[in-house]
């Protein structure tokens, strides 16, 4: 059999993935951040080291700004719902995945936000100047772009769009579902404010893993509350 569905999920995963998961279940087992016994410390170190590796991969200065999620859909939902407020305006493209379009459309249908869409051309490419045209006229809080399309494979120049967004006082959320692990994703030189990624595509991890980088200075309203100890609000 030849597997041709890597844009959906990578297969087969490297044997190191199974070994790492087996090592966790056999030898570590405890919860990250739970108390101070040896197993819990090991689990916390594992999470810490994973954050550090991801920070290196994506050129993120402070690995503490990375959170782990179940998948990139959850990451995008946290970013979109946690950042946008009633009355905000958003620019996105016609090349977005439904995990961006559906949360955005939901907020729009509820009368919370207004969406402006940059149309891609026949090759699936978007013109960065089209973002500038909208950003010049409208007060936009967030630009949401798919780094690479799962349908056409077309890649957008993130750093160019980020520069345009920042010039007009807007923030940028990049959906790196298809590119993380397959194509360079540079949050530092790309000047990316939020970066959503999944673990199970080109990062070669198991399903049920993903994450979100949130630049310092951006505070998101949480989607889910509780579960991390009693002291937090």
């Amino acid at each position: 059999m030849i597997y041709f569905d890597h844009a959906a999920t990578s297969f087969p995963k490297p044997k190191e993935v199974f070994e790492a998961m087996a090592d966790y279940f056999f030898n570590i087992g405890a919860n990250n951040g739970r108390s101070g016994y040896r197993m819990a410390i090991k689990a916390s170190e594992l999470v810490f080291n994973t954050r550090e590796l991801l920070a290196r991969l994506f050129q993120i200065k402070d690995s503490a700004r990375i959170i782990f999620t179940k998948n990139v859909t959850e990451s995008l939902n946290i970013a979109i719902n946690g950042f946008l407020e009633k009355g905000d305006q958003v620019v996105t493209t016609s090349m977005e995945h439904n995990s961006v379009m559906r949360p955005l459309r939901y907020l729009e249908q509820r009368g919370q936000i207004k969406i402006f869409t940059v149309q891609a051309n026949r090759e699936g490419l978007v013109d960065p100047e089209a973002f500038a045209d909208i950003l010049k006229k409208e007060k936009i809080k967030l630009v949401v772009v798919n780094h690479a399309s799962n349908v056409t494979g077309s890649i957008v120049p993130l750093e160019v769009i980020a520069e345009i967004a920042h010039r007009h006082g807007s923030r940028i959320l990049a959906d790196a579902a298809q590119t993380a692990g397959a194509y360079p994703v540079d949050a530092a030189s790309g000047d990316i404010d939020m970066l959503a990624f999944t673990g199970h595509k080109s990062l070669l991890g198991p399903q049920g893993t993903g994450g979100l980088y949130v630049r310092e200075g951006i505070e998101l309203l949480p989607l889910i509350r509780g579960g991390t100890g009693s002291n937090y609000p």
Binding site: N32, G33, R34, S35, G36, D62, G229
Partner: protein, 72 residues
């Protein structure tokens, strides 16, 4: 024996970062469950001897480790 101090951190990430920084600088320390008298967060904290505290805090400052100075 010198008095021991307990340092509480803003997140588990910061505890592990602090532990790594102290290990690199060969400063003796111990990870402990956060004492319930200090906080109900059920996480971990760091204990070290009082004379080592200022050196440890300098290290944390440089490395960007976020600790609870309000509890020190």
């Amino acid at each position: 024996m010198p008095q021991a101090v307990v340092i509480v951190f803003k997140s588990t990430h910061d505890v592990i970062k602090a532990k790594n920084e102290l290990a690199k600088a060969c400063i003796a320390h111990e990870l402990i469950p956060t004492p319930k008298e200090i906080s109900a967060e059920c996480g971990m904290s760091l204990r070290l001897e009082e004379p080592l505290l200022s050196k440890a805090l300098d290290l944390f400052q440089t490395a960007g480790v976020r600790y609870r100075d309000d509890l020190l």
